[in-house]
């Protein structure tokens, strides 16, 4: 783990302390998949720094994911929220970085869920296409995600395909739309996509009366609020 990663990790652990880290609002996941599984899986994740080859993905990782996992999660999240010019997607928002940090901190109890989910995902893709998920074409990746969403991926036992899909979707949305301080929503990419102005401390009567887009800058994030609180 690089110094940079240690810093990120310590920061996230601190942020996550006291928070109820849950797979939030995913009934299927809580009803069936909350039981503990202790079967041996991969050794703890390789705490490697970010090799140059990864940097073009724009994704920080290494707090939890290894390189292959990072590629898989990056590709999965990007299919869920694909980017286009003028429409930032998961890679633009650095969703990978968000999930990586969350799994090293606030969501550490879901590491096994991801480890096993990713292993099963590749098992499914090997059966169906002879390749791991990250090497599939975009169309094949879409087919795979649709199969997970519909529970049609028999390689999945625990977590179930549906629970894995739901959780990655939830975490991708969090990475798109949570405050950038958590590592995603880079440069407010997600908030700009949908037109959310952030944690504005006040809206005026004129704001409330307007049926137009709220376009007043700046978008307010925790970083700037924290500063103004100190100052």
């Amino acid at each position: 783990m690089t110094k940079h990663d240690e810093g990120r990790r310590a920061f996230l652990v601190a942020l996550g302390a006291g928070a109820a880290a849950t797979t939030a609002l995913v009934p299927e996941a809580f009803a069936k998949d909350q039981k503990q599984h202790h079967a041996a899986t991969d050794a703890p994740p390789a705490n490697r720094g970010m090799p140059p080859a990864m940097q073009h993905m724009g994704g920080g990782h290494g707090a939890f994911f290894n390189d292959d996992d990072a590629r898989t999660v990056t590709a999965f999240a990007e299919r869920l929220m694909p980017g286009e010019p003028g429409k930032p997607g998961a890679t633009d928002a650095d969703v990978l970085n968000y999930i990586d940090l969350a799994l090293a901190g606030a969501y550490a109890d879901q590491q096994d869920f991801y480890r096993r989910g990713l292993t099963q995902l590749d098992a499914h893709c090997s059966q169906a296409y002879g390749k791991p998920f990250r090497r599939l074409t975009a169309e094949q990746q879409d087919e795979t995600i649709a199969a997970l969403e519909q529970g049609k991926a028999p390689a999945f036992v625990w977590p179930s395909a549906v629970a894995f899909f739901n959780t990655v979707r939830t975490h991708t949305m969090e990475g798109m739309f949570a405050d950038p301080i958590y590592g995603g929503n880079k440069d407010f990419a997600g908030w700009r996509l949908v037109g959310f102005p952030g944690a504005q401390p006040i809206f005026t009567e004129d704001d409330m009366k307007s049926p137009k887009a709220f376009a007043r800058e700046p978008i307010v994030g925790l970083q700037s609020r924290a500063k103004s609180k100190e100052g």
Binding site: G18, Q34, R79, K87, L193, F196, A199, P201
Partner: protein, 574 residues
């Protein structure tokens, strides 16, 4: 083990416990409040952070350390509920609630009698335990009034001493005076809803909110930031117990708040009186408080759980359970959602107080004729924010219109366009009480203290309830169309049967010790110095309205009875 003596000990200092603490302390009684969570302050709630407070539920009970489990029926496996709808700090749920502050209607207190009168006994499902309340609206009105004025509620009267007033809720019961503050400003979704509902001949009005619309009692007014439901208020405009009753209790000099105090037992003697409580404190210390009066106010799960955990040889089925009704008749509001989107205008519902902003009462309670509909009772129909909170993470959880997938380019484009242009409506349905909807002790799951978790057995999907949900959801569809929205769609309602919001019941109040746990003063029939307060005492849900103002009016009534009657003459109040 430390032992302390006091006049009154209160378990849980939330919406109800906070009021009783302040009222008794002001009347000169020595009060100790035991609260499992911390005491936060207004400056702790800045800045707002949707991930932390909405998604990760930082102000709510941690489901890992304080689990409540749920199963649809006795044959099913119970697993922890993913979201808990109660408080976890001094002030309880009022710290992060949506602030909807409603009175019930007059007839809601005599719901069985009125239903039989209007539709015949056969209209009530055979397996439902629908009953009249032991208290009337007229008895409660002064306490509703007190709660509105002391805490601070903004709204518009619809019925002043019997005179109907347009623009307020024309279905409301007569109130003795206007709200202490005018309604909050309306947002775009309220304006659209108002127009749509009026087109259909309905009666929309701004929901009453425990938020200062103008400076009130040295508190500033609302900034319309949008972070109410699931958040603490960063200016203290929300009339939470933290900024209303706790300062009063402090000023009395008779109140001591112990935070980080997890009460695990109510102690009793062989004469049948309770003697105090035991709690785990910091560092797992085991402590006991001896008190003349014990008020149990930790919300419905622990109201029942504590009675069961406190069983003795003399009370083998738990305290306050001679009737056998402890832990029964559990109810919850089910949330039926309808969404709309516009092409050509913005709604920006992230502005202004989140949760249910604008409401109609036309299809609530018995405000409409149910003849031939196949169900009784109704719902509060409102427009507000998706999943009751206005940020994009909350919006990413909503059910989607037909033809829109949950992911991919099509979803992204939908969300990018719809987020600031959508309206979120919700029908909050009153569900009937049924004795087989219960809370007991989970034999398999324990909390961080090693205590068995409360286990809820509940399935809302009964014929009467399903018919009601379909009816009110259809009404919202009609309003959505009348609003001129090009796209209107309904979301599925808890397909697995799990309870929705505002859980109630378990220690129902009544007029007969044989079929109820407490009397109308929330005093247990079995132990005159033990009071169980909160929505656990509701014998029916009353309405589709959010319950807290009624919880608080009842808390004021309990405090009044203790100060003015019980203190002079300890014993059964009835």
């Amino acid at each position: 083990m430390a032992t302390e003596k006091t006049d009154v000990v209160i378990v849980g200092v939330g919406a109800a416990g906070g009021i009783i603490a302040a009222e008794l302390a002001k009347a000169g009684m020595k009060v100790i409040g035991l609260e499992r969570g911390p005491r936060l302050k207004t400056s702790d709630f800045e800045p707002h952070d949707e991930l932390r407070y909405f998604e990760r539920q930082d102000l709510r009970p941690n489901i890992k350390t304080d689990p409540v489990t749920w199963r649809p029926n006795t044959g099913a496996h119970a697993g922890p509920m993913p979201v808990l709808n109660n408080g976890n700090q001094a002030g309880g749920g009022t710290v992060h609630y949506g602030t909807l502050s409603w009175r019930m209607h007059e007839d809601d207190f005599r719901v069985r009698t009125k239903t039989v009168e209007r539709y015949g006994a056969s209209a009530i499902p055979d397996d439902s335990s629908l009953v009249d309340w032991p208290v009337s609206y007229a008895e409660l009105e002064p306490f509703y009034d007190k709660a509105e004025y002391e805490l601070g509620v903004s709204g518009k009267a619809g019925n002043l001493q019997g005179k109907t007033i347009d623009g307020g809720n024309v279905f409301e019961a007569p109130r003795s005076r206007e709200y202490p503050m005018p309604p909050l400003l309306v947002d775009q979704s309220a304006i659209l809803y108002e127009a749509g509902a009026k087109k259909l001949g309905l009666h929309p009005f701004p929901s009453p909110r425990a938020i200062a619309s103008v400076p009130y009692n040295n508190r500033p007014s609302c900034t319309y930031c949008g972070f109410c439901q699931a958040f603490g208020c960063h200016v203290g405009a929300k009339s939470s117990i933290l900024v209303t009753k706790l300062p009063e209790a402090d000023a009395s000099g008779n109140f001591k708040l112990v935070t980080g105090a997890m009460v695990y037992r109510v102690n009793s003697d062989n004469a049948g009186n309770v003697t105090g409580v035991s709690y785990y404190g910091p560092g797992r210390s085991d402590n006991t408080i001896e008190a003349d009066i014990v008020i149990v106010a930790p919300f419905i799960y622990d109201n029942t759980r504590l009675m069961l955990l406190s069983k003795t040889d003399k009370f083998p089925n738990g305290l306050a359970n001679s009737s056998g009704h402890l832990g029964k008749h559990i109810m919850a509001h089910m949330m039926a959602n309808v969404f709309v989107t516009f092409d050509d205008r913005y709604v920006n519902n992230f502005m202004g107080p989140s949760a249910q902003k604008h409401t109609i009462d036309d299809f609530n309670a018995d405000n409409f004729d149910h003849a031939g509909l196949g169900f009784i009772r109704g719902a509060q129909l409102s427009i507000g924010t998706p999943n009751l909170e206005g940020g994009p993470i909350a919006a990413s959880t909503i059910a989607l219109p037909p033809g829109i997938p949950r992911w991919g380019a099509k979803y992204r484009d939908f969300f990018a366009k719809a987020y600031a242009r959508h309206g979120a409506m919700v029908a909050q349905t009153e569900n009937l009480p049924y004795p087989d909807q219960t809370i007991d002790l989970d034999p398999n799951v324990r909390d961080a203290w090693g205590l068995p978790a409360p286990r809820v057995t509940y399935d809302w999907r009964r014929p009467n309830e399903k018919a009601r949900v379909a009816f009110v959801q259809n009404k919202l569809m009609e309003i959505g169309k009348a609003m001129g929205a090009p796209q209107v769609w309904a979301a599925p309602v808890s397909p697995a049967g799990a309870p929705g919001a505002h859980h109630e019941g378990g220690t129902r109040m009544g007029s007969d010790p044989k079929d109820s746990v407490v009397n109308k003063y929330s005093q247990t029939w079995d132990h005159p110095n033990l009071f169980l307060v909160g929505s656990s005492t509701f014998p029916t849900m009353g309405t589709g309205f959010n319950p807290t103002l009624t919880i608080q009016a009842l808390a004021y009534m309990t405090a009044d009875a203790i100060v003015n009657k019980y203190r002079k003459n300890p014993g059964p109040l009835i």
